[in-house]
Symmetry: C2
C-alpha cells in the first residue's frame, strides 16, 4: 500500500527563500508545487504566473493550474513567501509606482494564497503568509512596503477568524522577518552585520514544522523572527 503523500504549494517558489523551502519539503518527501514567474526544477509541479495579467486573471490562472495538478486531492500546507522591497517617503517621485509594486508583490500574492487555502487546503491544514516586523510601526522611509505588509498582518487576523472562509481547524500565521540572509541582501548590504540576519534554512525548517503540526502557533499569530549571534527566536506580535 502506498503511503499517503503530503502536499505543499509554495508561492514564490523560485525566490531565494522559496527555493530553500521547496528543497526542504522535497528532502522530506513531500509533493511540492511552486507558484512563480519562473519554474523551479526541484518542484513536482510549476504553476507559472504571467506578471502582465491583472490580479483577477492571475488568480484564475493559478487556481486552474493548481486544480488540474492535484485533481480531487487537497493540500496539507500553503506557504506564501512571495514579496519584495522598495523604499521612498511621500516626497519620493516613485511613491505611487513603488506602492503599486509592493501591493502586487505582497498583497496580490497573499490574497491569492488565501483563496487557494479556501479552495484546496485540507481540514486542519496550514497557511503561512509573510509580513514584516517593521510594518508593526510606522515606516516613513518605505511607505508602500509598510502599507502592504500592514495589510497582510490584518489579513492574517481576518483569516484566523472562524468566519474568514478557511477550512475547519486550519491554521494561518505570518512570519515577520527583520532581514533575511539572502544573496541579494548580502550583495546590497555588504558591510552589514549578518549575525542578526535570519538564515533561510531556519525559516524552511520552521515552516515545515508548522506544516506537520509540530509547534504550530495559535491561528492568527504574527511571529517575529529575531536573530542575534546567528540564533533566531520567535516572538509573537500584536497587530
Amino acid at each position: 500500500m502506498a503511503a499517503s503523500i503530503s502536499r505543499v504549494v509554495v508561492y514564490g517558489g523560485k525566490g531565494a527563500l522559496g527555493r530553500e523551502i521547496v528543497g526542504y519539503f522535497k528532502q522530506k518527501s513531500w509533493w511540492v508545487g511552486s507558484i512563480d514567474i519562473f519554474g523551479n526544477d526541484e518542484a513536482n509541479a510549476n504553476f507559472l504566473i504571467n506578471p502582465e495579467l491583472s490580479w483577477t486573471e492571475q488568480n484564475e490562472s493559478i487556481n486552474n493550474q493548481v486544480s488540474s495538478a492535484i485533481g480531487d486531492e487537497k493540500l496539507d500546507a500553503i506557504v506564501c513567501v512571495a514579496g519584495g522591497w522598495a523604499g521612498g517617503n511621500a516626497a519620493s517621485k516613485d511613491l505611487v509606482k513603488n506602492s503599486d509594486l509592493m501591493w502586487k508583490q505582497s498583497v496580490w500574492t497573499s490574497i491569492i494564497a488565501a483563496g487557494l487555502a479556501s479552495n484546496y487546503l485540507k481540514v486542519g491544514g496550514m497557511l503561512t503568509l509573510t509580513g514584516a516586523k517593521a510594518a508593526l510601526e510606522s515606516t516613513p522611509g518605505m511607505i508602500g512596503y509598510g502599507m502592504a505588509k500592514a495589510a497582510v498582518h490584518q489579513l492574517v487576523a481576518s483569516l484566523s477568524d472562524g468566519k474568514g472562509g478557511l477550512p475547519e481547524n486550519s491554521c494561518v500565521a505570518a512570519i515577520l522577518p527583520i532581514t533575511l540572509d539572502t544573496p541579494m541582501n548580502r550583495k546590497f548590504m555588504p558591510k552589514a552585520d549578518t549575525s542578526t540576519w535570519t538564515p533561510l534554512d531556519f525559516v524552511a525548517k520552521l515552516l515545515y514544522s508548522w506544516s506537520t503540526n509540530v509547534d504550530r502557533p495559535i491561528s492568527g499569530s504574527l511571529m517575529q523572527l529575531e536573530t542575534k549571534d546567528g540564533k533566531t527566536e520567535l516572538k509573537t506580535a500584536k497587530m
Copy 2:
C-alpha cells in the same frame, strides 16, 4: 487689500460626505477644489479622474490639474474622504475583485493625497485621511475592506513621522467612522438604528476645525467617531 484666501482640496468631493465637506468649507469662504470622477458644481475647481487610468496615470493627472489651478499657491488642507465598501471572506468568489476595488477606492486615493500633501500643502497644513474602526481588528466578513483600511492606518503613522515627506509642522490624521449617516446607508440598511450613525455635518465641522488648527489632534492620530443617541465622541485608537 484682499484678505488671504484659505484653500482646501477634497478628494471624493462628489460623494455624500465629500459634498457635505465641500459645502461647509464654501460656507466659510474657503477656496475649494474637488477631486472626483464627476464634478461638484459648488467647488471652485474640479479635478476630474478617469477611473480607467492606472494608479500612476491618475496620480500624474491629478497633480497636473491641481498645479495648474493653484499656481504658486499652497493648500491649507487636504481631505481625502474617497472610499467605498464591499464584503466577502476568503471563500467568496469575488475575493480578488472586491479586494482590488477596495484598494483602488481607499489606498490609491490616500497615497495620491499623501503625494499632493508633500507637493502642495503649506507648512503647518492639515491632511486628513479616512480609515475605519472595524479595521483595527479582524474583518473576516469583509477581507478586502479591512486590509485596505489597515493599510491607510499604517500610512498615517508613516506620514506623521518627521521623515515621512510631508511639509514641516503639518499634521496628518485619519477619521475612523463606524457607520456614516449617508443616503446609501439608509437605503441599504432601512431597519438600522440610525441614532448610532455619525451625521455628515458633524464630520464636516470636525475636519473644518482641524483645518483651521482648532482642536487639531496630534499628528498620526487615528480618531474613532463613536455616535450614541445622535451624539458623536472622538476616541483615539492605536494602530
